[in-house]
């Protein structure tokens, strides 16, 4: 596989991009402001686009250039713009009642990364890939997954939840670029498109939520129990 025998320069470039994306996930965890989330998400998407292009260049997968362009366009531009529209409609610009303060979330996030690292090292050892960039990619992928779930759990604003889901997706996408760069083009494109539809649906639902339920925080949604 690609990650096992890479040029050292390529390996360090991939690592740099992956770690920078992970750091941006932490930026989201450490902030209360919705606009910060959005900027961090947009930047993360651009980094992933660069990563796709780099993998395409060093691995010889030319269709990844196309993926890179679509990633930058969809995830880096259209999605943030769609979400920005939702923010303007909401009149909310920060998390008011998070269940866990940003600083505590950072600590929990760090623990989750540790857990992801242990799991990936274990998987990497089983596959004889210890010490390669594949282990790092796995770590970042699982960490972003867990951080996304953490955001879903501790943040109540509907927008934080949408972005939490998008971080989950970004994590998978980032990992798949390094681990399975040869994935058929069609599948990747459909998944990208699917994401756009998801966010559009969320946009409509947020509008319903504000007009008919009168809240933009999921903490108001506690009628259905039992």
């Amino acid at each position: 596989m690609l990650a096992a025998h890479l040029h050292p320069l390529a390996a360090s470039l991939f690592s740099l991009l992956a770690i920078a994306s992970l750091l941006l996930a932490f930026v989201m965890l450490g902030s209360r402001w919705l606009k910060d989330y959005l900027v961090a998400f947009g930047l993360q998407s651009w980094l992933i686009a660069i990563l796709s292009a780099a993998v395409g260049y060093y691995g010889g997968y030319h269709e990844l250039y196309l993926i890179a362009i679509f990633t930058a366009l969809f995830r880096g531009l259209i999605l943030p713009l769609l979400i920005l529209r939702i923010i303007h409609r909401l009149n909310v610009d920060r998390e008011l009642h998070e269940r866990l303060s940003p600083s505590s979330s950072l600590v929990v996030g760090a623990l989750l990364v540790l857990f992801a690292f242990v799991v990936s090292t274990h998987l990497g050892d089983a596959l004889g890939l210890a010490g390669t960039v594949a282990v790092l990619a796995l770590t970042v992928m699982l960490s972003m997954k867990l951080i996304g779930f953490l955001m879903l759990v501790v943040r109540g604003e509907v927008l934080s939840q949408i972005l939490g889901l998008l971080v989950l997706e970004n994590g998978i996408f980032l990992g798949s670029q390094i681990l399975v760069p040869g994935m058929p083009l069609l599948i990747e494109l459909v998944i990208l498109f699917d994401l756009l539809v998801v966010v559009a649906c969320f946009g409509v639902l947020v509008r319903y939520l504000v007009t008919h339920a009168g809240t933009s925080s999921t903490y108001g949604l506690r009628r259905l129990v039992g």
Binding site: M1, L2, Y61, H122, L123, A126, L127, M141, K145, G148, F149, L152, V158, Q161, G164, L165, L168, E169, I172, G175, S176, L179, V180, P181, G182, M183, P184, I187, V190, I191, D194, V197, V198, C201, F202, V204, L205, Y208, L209, H212, A213, T218, L221, R223, L224, G226
Partner: protein, 503 residues
């Protein structure tokens, strides 16, 4: 070359195009009465096509469109249960949605409804695992807007929880699929089509650690969509807040399409020789679903939530059937699938009728059902007896089959857990019906304004009662007589699913 291949292609095209055309026509015409009948016509076409397809899919599986579409016996069996529920729910929707007096938005309802049927029918036909995942994701997106169609505060809350929990859960399944792809790519080279058969073929050579991790991830991911505990939290909300025909589709059709994903991945895990662990996890999750359902059914206050937890129960039973495996377990689970689809449609229709008559979802406000709705009340009561697994209905036969399958395998402990919990559910579920049917009448001041029974009768139109007959009669037949043709069919599916090797 199979001489039937053209016929199969035409039938599959009919199955997928009929709902698609319905969506387009409903959005274009915007007439509520016309949309009703177009949707009903599409449902009839789909049902007829699936019934015709059933014998054709028995012998071998066929692929179309460069291997993206597969028609195999397992997929067509699920299509049968989906098409049945779609037909029944389309009939019922005509009566139920008219009573809601939302005519101005009704064309949108039918467009979404047909779109939901389309995505649900697409799932079992997908051969590429990535595309299957997308089909399942699309079912969520479309049905979200059906769940919140009434635009009440509760229904929007339910829709929000539904889309967030299921999207989050199913993204784990995507991770698992990527792991499977990765494991396969170490053998097959970096670019290949991840079809069910390709994955099964490469599974024996896959690294077991990665195969196990991938299997657990897809089990959790698709398990969220199936509503297996502890990932079931969205299910009672979504099923109780949507309009009754939508609840029937969610419960009777949608859950099954995600369930066959799990059945197919169990087959992959068998082929990968992962030992007993995968099946133990499936069985344990199934048993846990039964436990959670038993607890919440006993103390339930809402009539539709009662039905929703019963869905959690039956998905648990099906997971047990697939988890026990073997020809007997698979046959039991598949028989259970069809019977549950019929039965749960019947139950949601009855609940919808009761909500129309009593204007409430609370069990404690529903009383003396037989005096207010004699015919559909009796049908509903028969359905309640059937859904708890009592003879002489279909679910009794399938549950006994699954119990027998469990005793043959290594997870016999689960049989006793299942038996005990089924008894608890039987008592708990029917106790609510006892209170609703034979309990003392409420004191007059707590009664909703008394209407003369004739007007109530008039309000429950035939559209709301006929589908209940259409569900109950086959259910009774399935309980009295296990058709020999079905046995052949299940044997074919079991042979196909055991294509890899035993556990």
């Amino acid at each position: 070359m199979d001489p039937n291949i053209h016929l199969i292609a035409v039938l599959v095209a009919l199955i997928l195009l009929a709902p698609l055309v319905t969506v387009a026509l409903c959005l274009a015409l915007r007439r509520p009465r016309i949309c009703e009948y177009i949707n009903l016509a599409a449902a009839i076409v789909v049902f007829a096509a699936v019934v015709r397809l059933l014998p054709l899919a028995l012998a071998t599986s066929h692929t179309f469109l460069n291997g993206y579409l597969i028609v195999d016996s397992l997929g067509v069996w699920v299509l049968l249960s989906v098409a049945t529920v779609y037909l029944l729910a389309s009939l019922y929707a005509i009566g139920y949605m008219r009573s809601m007096q939302e005519d101005s938005r009704l064309h949108r309802f039918y467009a979404l409804f047909a779109g939901f049927a389309l995505t649900t029918l697409t799932g079992p036909l997908m051969n590429n695992i990535g595309v299957y995942w997308i089909a399942i994701e699309l079912t969520t997106l479309v049905s979200t807007f059906l769940v919140c169609f009434e635009l009440g505060r509760e229904s929007i809350e339910a829709a929000w929880k539904y889309i967030v929990v299921v999207s989050g859960g199913i993204s784990l399944a995507l991770l698992g699929i990527i792991f499977f792809y990765w494991g396969g790519s170490l053998r097959l080279g970096s670019t290949y089509d991840l079809t069910w058969s390709a994955l099964r073929a490469v599974a024996p050579n896959m690294n077991p650690t990665i195969a196990l991790a991938a299997f657990l991830l897809v089990l959790i991911g698709f398990g969220t969509k199936v509503g297996l505990a502890p990932m079931h939290t969205w299910l009672p909300d979504a099923h109780s807040e949507g309009p009754a025909p939508v609840s029937a589709m969610l419960s009777g059709a949608l859950l099954n399409t995600a369930m066959i994903g799990i059945a197919r991945f169990i087959q992959v895990s068998d082929a990968a020789h992962l030992g007993l662990l995968p099946r133990i996890v499936v069985v344990a999750i199934g048993a846990l679903s039964l436990l959670i359902a038993a607890l919440f059914i006993t103390r339930q206050m809402g009539i539709k939530r009662l039905m929703a937890y019963s869905s959690v129960e039956h998905m648990g039973v099906m997971a047990l059937g697939f988890g026990f495996g073997g020809p007997l377990g698979i046959a039991g689970a598949l028989y259970h699938m069809l019977s549950h689809s019929l039965n749960k449609s019947l139950m949601f229709f009855g609940a919808g009728n009761a909500m129309q008559v009593f204007q409430t979802k609370r069990i404690s406000r529903i009383h003396q059902v037989l005096s207010r709705m004699p015919v559909s009340g009796l049908l509903w009561l028969a359905g309640a007896v059937a859904i708890t697994g009592a003879p002489p209905f279909g679910l009794f036969l399938s549950e006994v089959t699954i119990l027998r399958a469990g005793l043959l395998g290594p997870n016999a402990w689960a049989v006793f857990v299942m038996l005990l919990l089924l008894i608890v559910i039987f008592v708990g579920f029917l106790n609510h019906f006892r209170a609703m049917y034979f309990g003392a009448a409420l004191s007059p001041d707590t009664l909703p304004e008394v209407e003369d029974p004739l007007s109530t009768q008039r309000r429950l139109s035939a559209w709301c009662v006929v589908p209940m007959w259409l569900a109950l009669v086959p259910l009774l037949l399935l309980g009295l007589w296990w058709p020999g043709a079905f046995s052949h069919y299940f044997a074919a599916i079991a042979a196909q699913l055991a294509g890899g090797a035993g556990p």
